[in-house]
Amino acid sequence: MGRCGGDRQAEHLPTRWPQLLDPGTLEAVVLTMGSKQTVFTREQLEEYQDCTFFTRKEIMRLFYRYQDLAPQLVPLDYTGCPAVKVPYELIGSMPELKDNPFRQRIAQVFSDDGDGHMTLDNFLDMFSVMSEMAPRDLKAYYAFKIYDFNNDDYICAWDLEQTVTRLTRGELSAEEVSLVCEKVLDEADSDHDGRLSLEDFRNMILRAPDFLSTFHIRI
């Protein structure tokens, strides 16, 4: 499955490592020795740095967060790029996502197959987009995908209903919800096709400067 193969072995890599080596020393190994028995090779780390908004330290921290989610599943050696996926149940139980009404959507949008199971790449991707440094357009794009529940590239009334029910935990009555959806479409649907396209969404986000700081998960 993975591009480097060897995922079977990867899953059986010694799981006692986490106990033996604390994150600090491992990280030091990575930083100083490069390609020795480490989590990532230098090239890998550089790739991650170039492809995300994180520094090396943050990448390592995220990796350990990821590893902590499923210590049995995730090897501590990623130099062979094992194709390990952490199931959604574990991803969704992270304190950062646990109480987020959109946690399932977030995981789905960022996972490869839309099922919420995440590889390390997906995981890093997710937090990179959610980081402070990510530009508005990128955030808006993924926010749009998150709110687009049925993946049809438009936020339609049904998507909006889903969003509103999640946001209000069902405190609004059905009529109110549909009214809200109507109003939202009224406001944001600039081409009047009865649903929000990505452009509509981004237009609207431009008008909501808080979006940049609120679409942000701290790690």
Partner: protein, 993 residues
């Protein structure tokens, strides 16, 4: 996979009969011929070459086509799982002679079997099937140059499919479409449809992996119940862009083709019927193409859409580079990828990384993109430099630079304080409260910087020549700042005016200059960093202030993702539903018109409130002024060290009490928008605080400085120190007592009050006030930033604890980012500019005290600079400094011209902004009009279809489908609008219907 494909192709019972029916084949065949003729007859200036290409292909293709169509076991061959993939190489097949054709049919079958594992998700192994494939084609084909290029394109296509895990979902269409480069014309359309932004681009494009989320899981997991209808629903989305070659061969070969291809294959059948519907289509196409910058930027486009140097070149290296490139081919295959790569290559590495990061793609894709770019880059540098070792050197240097930069940024980010605490605060209270703490942290950084600067350039040199301090230390000095501290590096008065020199030959250090330059540098850096952050915030948060509306949409889409605490989330949801309800009722009621009397009452309430608040502020100022005057007289007669604390105490009391008094006006005043209330409160408070500081400054500069005080600079420094310290003590007391008591009252005694909300505005204003004092005092007391640093540090923890204990999250959705912008603006405008004015007056106008400080004996502070310039004049080596001083800094003309230029630029920018505003309005109108067009067309279409249905109720589904897709649709769309999204949505509507 096999099961899936079979399933898919057979379950498409709409499609299937279509192909098995002989007359249909004929039709298609004829149609193809027809189509192929048209380009010849029609002078399409844009794509003569691609057209003619198509023609020649067609002429060769035709035999093959008819053969395949008449083949009796054709439907049977659909059962092979790979049928859609065969479509990948129709061109190479075309170029072959017909006997080869059968063979090629079976061979791709084999190949596709190889391909299937890739589809299951092993994107790293596309190499083997391809290499198997290569000989096949090479064997069967006569070496026609032209055919070769085609084959290579095909290669890209297959590879791309293999690589794109996301693209699998829709039976290889994306790959297919993406690799046909020669119909660049068509591609142009695709771009036009999604022209607005790169993202939409991707959305509209089939090879965007994320776009096909839904079908994907089914596909990759091989779920047996993959519904063909889903495929149908989705495919128009990605196939909204018509593709000529596709229609040509797609029709002929693949029964599992989904609707849109059929549509286009059938498209020319309209021509058969007499309507020349191809024509408008192509005209539209060209016009779009002309308007579309992408089309020209496409590497595939220049001149003839065929012989594409980029592709050729890449192909050349393909064989050599083997595995790695094969994984990159999806980038080369897709036009966006191409474009992106083209645009990325000339960039600097920093921009490149930034662009790659900003791509809304998965990590895997970004990584590949990065590798491709690196490779291209290195190739380029090899070409240009020819000196391999030199290029290598350069690249390694740049790599080293990047690494060191990375580690530097790491170092900087590791300094970032309180990351965890901030996360907890954000998790519990949301972004709005967080912005107070961010502001605090930002100020802290400011002060750390000023402190380090002052310490290293003023204090440390002074410490090397410090005399012994003989004053007694009692401990009260911490509060008063007088006594013992008077003779320390803390205050201006202690610094020497001499040149510090260690040893006989050591370098000299002119304290006078060091003092004035350090303070100046500190203020200038503060100025620019303030300006920078202000501009940044403005850019981010006031993009188009005219667009603001109290929309409900923002409430819904701006859920605060930082909130992670479960109670906070629940509370937030509750608040949000309340707010939505309020908003709804507001919208439903419309704007309630007030009667004249009500309006008058409101207006008079506002006027009264303003009068009272201004009056109170003025009264406070007067009180402070007289108190200060009398206090100084009183202090001359009484030598009680604690008496100096009276003035700071009174000022802090005013600062504590009056804002609360102001907020009580809210009971009387009624605002239409709660935001206005916040703003009004802010303005009143800032007016109060700044005017108190202003009156104190007046008192210091006009009374204290001109009096015969022994060392008035030190005196002012002490005053400021006391004010700052008292303010800090009051804040602490307020947090520990006031807020605590409020909680006790709210939870124990008057339950209706409940927990209070954190008053961000008031707290931020306190910070601004303190910072203003620090800036003023920095000249008189160079170590004041240290005091403020400590104060802020403690304050952070105190506020944090108090917040966690005594407060609840804010109930209103707070415009945090806008507020933050406002705060920084307030910090800049009345506060920092005021400080600059005060210090400018001090330095240019006032006479330094004669017995202490680095400037003793001079008529004014600035005189030190003049003297320095005079001494420089005598040294020939420093003439440039003198020149700069004379012609730039000291010259009125220069500043006059500079001001003029700045004014002109500002005016020009303002005009540009105005123009853009008009443009934005026009574009907005255009969007709305396009939307109306769309609705109109859809309506018309539905009507037409209804008519059709009524007229011919017995028609088969099949025919319906045909008419649906080809009948009036093209004509109308083609002539009406070039917007492709329209086409897609129309199609979808039909499918739903």
């Amino acid at each position: 996979m096999a099961a899936y494909y079979r399933n898919n192709s057979y379950s498409n019972d709409e499609d299937y009969p279509d192909y098995s029916r002989p007359q249909d084949h004929n039709k298609e065949y004829l149609k193809i011929q027809n189509y192929l003729d048209i380009p010849g007859s029609q002078n399409n200036p844009d794509y003569p070459s691609s057209r003619s290409n198509a023609h020649s292909v067609g002429s060769r293709t035709n035999p093959g086509f008819s053969g395949s169509l008449t083949e009796p076991d054709y439907p049977g061959s659909t059962g092979t799982p790979d049928y859609p993939h065969i479509r990948n190489n129709p061109y190479s097949e075309d170029s072959r002679t017909s006997p080869d054709y059968h063979r090629s049919l079976s061979e791709p079958d084999y190949n596709e079997f190889q391909n299937n594992p890739r589809h299951l998700g092993s994107p790293r192994k596309p190499e083997s099937p391809r290499s198997q494939r290569n000989p096949d084609f090479a064997d069967s084909r006569i070496s026609e140059n032209y055919a070769n290029t085609r084959r290579k394109l095909d290669h890209f296509g297959t590879l791309e499919e293999a690589d794109y895990p996301g693209a699998k979902g829709n039976t290889n269409h994306p790959g297919q479409r993406a690799n046909f480069n020669h119909p660049g014309s068509r591609r142009g359309l695709g771009y036009a449809g999604s022209r607005v932004s790169p993202y939409t681009d991707f959305l509209g494009q089939p090879d965007y992996p994320g776009a096909e989320n839904q079908p994907n899981p089914c596909h990759s997991f091989g779920e047996p119940d993959y519904p063909g209808s889903v495929d149908h629903q989705n495919s128009p989305n990605f196939w909204g862009e018509p593709d000529y070659p596709d229609s040509k061969d797609g029709q002929g070969y693949s029964p599992s083709e989904i609707r849109n291809t059929t549509r286009w294959g059938n498209g020319p059948s309209g021509i058969l019927g007499g309507e020349n519907e191809e024509y408008p289509e192509s005209i539209e196409m060209t016009s779009v193409k002309m308007a579309n910058p992408y089309g020209h930027a496409l590497p595939g486009a220049p001149g003839n859409g065929y012989v594409n140097p980029a592709f050729m070149g890449e192909n050349g290296s393909l064989g050599a580079n083997g595995n790695l490139l094969s994984s990159e081919c999806d980038w080369h295959g897709s036009p966006q990828g191409q474009k992106l790569i083209e645009s990325l290559i000339p960039m600097t590495s920093r921009d490149r990384v930034k662009t790659i990061r900003n791509q809304p793609r998965t990590m895997e894709e970004k990584r590949k993109l990065r590798n491709i770019i690196d490779k291209e880059k290195s190739k380029q540098s090899h070409h240009t430099l020819r000196l391999n070792c030199c290029a290598h050197c350069l690249s390694s240097i740049s790599l080293g630079c990047r690494r060191s930069k990375n580690s530097l940024s790491e170092l900087l980010s590791s300094i970032s304080l309180w990351q965890k605490t901030l996360k907890v605060i954000g998790g519990k209270f949301g972004t709005s409260v967080l912005c107070y703490f961010n502001f605090l942290r930002w100020l802290l950084k400011f002060n750390i910087f000023s402190f380090i600067l002052n310490l290293s350039f003023i204090t440390v040199p002074q410490l090397t020549v410090a005399e012994r301090n003989t004053l007694p230390f009692t401990g009260l000095e911490f509060l008063t700042g007088a006594g013992y501290f008077k003779k320390t590096v803390m205050y201006y008065g202690f610094y020497t005016n001499s040149t510090i020199r260690h040893g006989s030959s050591g370098a000299s250090y002119n304290m006078q200059l060091a003092y004035i330059f350090t303070i100046g540098a500190c203020l200038i850096v503060c100025f620019f960093s303030l300006l920078y952050s202000m501009a940044k915030y403005f850019r981010n948060n006031f993009i188009n202030p005219h667009l603001y509306s109290r929309g409900i949409a923002k409430l819904i889409f701006c859920w605060d993702f930082t909130v992670t605490h479960d109670k906070a989330v629940k509370l937030k949801q509750k608040n949000l539903s309340r707010e939505i309800r309020e908003n709804l009722s507001e919208i439903l009621q419309e704007n309630v018109k007030f009667t004249f009397r009500q309006q008058l009452a409101r207006f008079s309430a506002h006027v009264a409130a303003w009068l009272v608040s201004t009056g109170v502020a003025v009264a406070c100022c007067v009180a402070v002024y007289y108190l200060a005057e009398h206090n100084s007289k009183f202090l001359h007669t009484h030598k009680d060290p604690g008496a100096v604390l009276l003035l700071p105490f009174v000022v802090s009391c005013i600062n504590l009490a009056v804002p609360r008094f102001y907020s009580m006006f809210g009971l009387v005043e009624r605002y239409e928008m709660p935001r206005h209330e916040v703003y009004t409160l802010l303005i009143r408070n800032i007016f109060l605080k700044i005017s108190i500081i202003g009156i104190l400054c007046y008192y210091w500069l006009n009374i204290v400085a001109l009096s015969d005080e022994e060392c008035w600079e030190t005196f002012i420094g002490q005053e400021i120190y006391r004010l700052l310290l008292m303010d800090f003590v009051f804040s602490l007391a307020d947090s520990f007592l006031g807020e605590f008591l409020r909680r006790i009252i709210g939870t124990r005694f008057i339950k209706s009050l409940g927990l209070q909300e954190f008053d961000i505005a008031r707290n931020v204003l306190e910070l601004i006030y303190a910072q203003t004092l620090v800036w003023i005092g920095i000249f008189f007391c160079p170590l004041l930033p240290l005091i403020q640093m400590i104060a802020l540090f403690i304050m952070f923890y105190v506020k944090n604890i108090s917040l966690m204990m005594n407060f609840q999250p804010p109930s209103k959705a707070w415009r945090a980012s806008q507020m933050m912008t406002l705060f920084i603006f307030l910090l800049f405008f009345p506060s920092f500019t005021g400080v600059l004015c005060t210090l400018a007056i001090t330095i240019w106008r006032l006479k330094p005290s004669g017995t202490c400080g680095p400037f003793r004996g001079l008529p004014s502070f600035i005189q030190s600079i003049y003297l320095w310039i005079d001494t420089l004049r005598e040294r020939s080596g420093y003439m440039w400094v003198v020149w700069i001083y004379q012609n730039l800094i000291g010259s009125v003309h220069f500043f006059f011209i500079l001001t003029l230029i700045v004014l002109i630029i500002t005016y020009l920018y303002w005009q540009i902004t105005e123009g853009r505003k008009v443009m934005i309005r026009l574009l907005h109108e255009q969007i709305i009009n396009e939307g109306k067009d769309k609705m109109f067309l859809i309506e018309k279409l539905t009507k037409l279809q209804e008519m059709e249905k009524r007229a011919n109720p017995s028609a088969l589904i099949l025919e319906r489908r045909e008419t649906e897709q080809h009948g009036p649709l093209h004509l109308m769309e083609g002539s009406a609008t070039s917007d492709l999204r329209l086409r897609r949505s129309v199609q979808e509507d039909y499918l739903k219907a």
